[in-house]
Symmetry: C2
Subunit: 250 residues, 2 copies
Amino acid sequence: MSHIARVFIEQPLRLDHPVVLPEGQSKYLLRVMRLTDGALVRVFNGQDGEWACSLSVDRKVAVLTPTKNLRPQENGPELTLLFAPVKKARTDFIVEKATELGVSDIRPILTDYTQSQRVRTDRMRLLAIEAAEQTERMDLPDIQEALSLPRALAEWDKTIPLIFCDEGGRSAPLADFANQLTGKTAGILIGPEGGFSPKERDMLHALDFVIPITLGPRILRAETAVVSALTLWQSLFGDWQKAPYLPEAE
Amino acid sequence: MSHIARVFIEQPLRLDHPVVLPEGQSKYLLRVMRLTDGALVRVFNGQDGEWACSLSVDRKVAVLTPTKNLRPQENGPELTLLFAPVKKARTDFIVEKATELGVSDIRPILTDYTQSQRVRTDRMRLLAIEAAEQTERMDLPDIQEALSLPRALAEWDKTIPLIFCDEGGRSAPLADFANQLTGKTAGILIGPEGGFSPKERDMLHALDFVIPITLGPRILRAETAVVSALTLWQSLFGDWQKAPYLPEAE
């Protein structure tokens, strides 16, 4: 069933309750995906689990009727990515990969060396939806408004560890902080190309809830650091012990 | 010194022995990077370590003269990535990220579900050079010719474990295979979008040197799986215990 279209919708999903899709999504299903009357679609909304739905077409409008619940709702761990936007394609990539790797929240932050001050959270949300559809997750990451680094740190819940990928330092690997990171919730902070400024690094190192870690001997680009850090956290403290959902096995 | 240009060249590097750059590279340094006579450049060739070189310009040709050895030659672990080429931008990304994450060899493989049969190893080499320059590594990954999956497996050195990222299975995480993976050399095999065919999966599961692993409960795109698997191997068995090279500290 993984080759069956899988779509995120905003409306509630209940057995036999038809959902009329808005124009953009109707067009997408009918014209881009070329689905026709009677097609089977997998649908999730971040609340009601995943449903098999039957598609009907009513004057160019797509209507989805839930016919069977496939999976109950299940959300990933509470993991926030804070990242400094980089160039467009690489920022897109960060949002896509963070969604694939199961973050619950994405917060753009503006730092001393952030080149891109224009943050398109609407675009990020569309990318996150697309990635969530293809990666089989059942919830969407929440795309939060951009904040300056000092403000993001001031607003951070100090009981939650914030992992700071410190390429300018002599920090220890993530695994060494296992005793501080068992709470199943964390933040991961990735700087822009060129890293954090000396002032920012001093500020971060002075905060009790910030855990500086190394990502090895090579300098990683921002988007590589995002994927590497999220991978390490998920494999050590997150939900990677869970088996993948295999729709073929249904 | 990380803001000083860092370039890979093909020629030997010896103290006070000037190297005349070929036309393409001369143009790049003089026109794109806009370096002028007397500029300092960091240079490596994968053999002789990293050198500070002084640039001189002789009738539009760039000449680099090594003035000081900055670091002795040091190569990363022997880690081969075997991957099925996907769409162009994502294949480029895989080569760039594999280089950043310190692989020694990159081998494109053609599988049952590989969409792209055209493999541009020349282009991959250019991407690998660019990524090696920016990631501070001192060697280049070797870009090998594309092979079919059965042939790549037949030619594989059976004493080296081949880690197979099996998204269709119920495999264990990489860390569970620590006793089989301490040899500091390994291969990592990543399939195309859609994974491996049932026939290929049977073939892989039947081979003694193949270690099937899971990359968590979500379905990852091919390029995400590459970064995740390389990150895990490097952090568990590779060189991530080493501190980064910090040219600023020179």
